[in-house]
């Protein structure tokens, strides 16, 4: 699985947009990019997944440039409840690749 690098922590304020960039220089052709969110004392929760360009859902947007060597998770107008750890994962969707490897994640703190 491709190694990922993301910032250890980020601070923001309520109502701002938070952008977390993840580097994955050795991403393979079959790899997808997936982001998870984890609140304290809970298991991770799937946020969004993409292969290229832009993906948007009710929670976030995911921007992937043409070379796919990085991706940016965008959280619009964050609230205090968005304080969590966000994980970027890269891997093959096939059966042999279905073993997620989590890095340390990015700890996002939303302040009032």
């Amino acid at each position: 699985l491709a190694k990922t690098t993301q910032p250890i922590s980020m601070d923001s304020y309520e109502g701002q947009e938070v952008n977390i960039t993840c580097s994955h220089n050795n991403i393979a052709t079959n790899d997808y990019i997936t982001w998870y969110q984890q609140f304290p004392s809970q298991g991770p929760r799937f946020i969004i997944q993409g292969y290229k360009t832009k993906v948007t859902n009710e929670v976030a947007s995911l921007f992937i440039p043409a070379d796919r060597k990085s991706s940016t998770l965008s959280l619009p107008r964050v609230s205090l409840s968005d304080t969590a750890v966000y994980y970027c994962l890269v891997g093959d969707l096939g059966p042999a690749g279905n073993k997620l490897t989590f890095g340390g994640g990015t700890r996002v703190l939303v302040k009032p």
């Binding site: 997936t34 799937f46 969707l93 279905n98 997620l100 989590f102």
Partner: protein, 112 residues
């Protein structure tokens, strides 16, 4: 509500004792996983099972064993617990087609 049930939610265990962490899912997912999460280290894969009857080793399998007798259950056994196995353990499952893993609420295990 469909999802993953883990038991117990927390446990204090004497070193050297045997312990089985239980995990049950009702989504009929083929793939199941066990992760451990230690402070500052993200989640690390212990064992996985792509389908009933098969299991595989993850990143940190030593000291742990698993079985997958049926689709729904994926217990994790510590044959002889050691203090370094103090951690939060998360069970997860997926349909094997995408990275939308569903995680349980975790078991907090303390080995003393």
């Amino acid at each position: 509500i469909a999802g993953i049930t883990q038991a117990p939610t927390s446990q204090i265990l004497a070193a050297g004792r045997r312990m089985t962490l239980r995990c049950t899912q009702d989504m009929r997912h083929n793939a199941m996983y066990w992760y451990r999460q230690d402070l500052g280290l993200g989640l690390r894969l212990i064992h996985y099972s792509n389908t009933a009857g098969t299991t595989g080793k993850g990143e940190v399998p030593d000291g742990y064993s698993v079985s997958r007798a049926n689709t729904d259950d994926f217990p994790l056994t510590l044959a002889s617990a050691v203090p370094s196995q103090t951690s939060v353990y998360f069970c997860a499952s997926s349909d094997g087609l995408n990275y939308g893993y569903t995680f349980g609420s975790g078991t907090r295990l303390t080995v003393v």
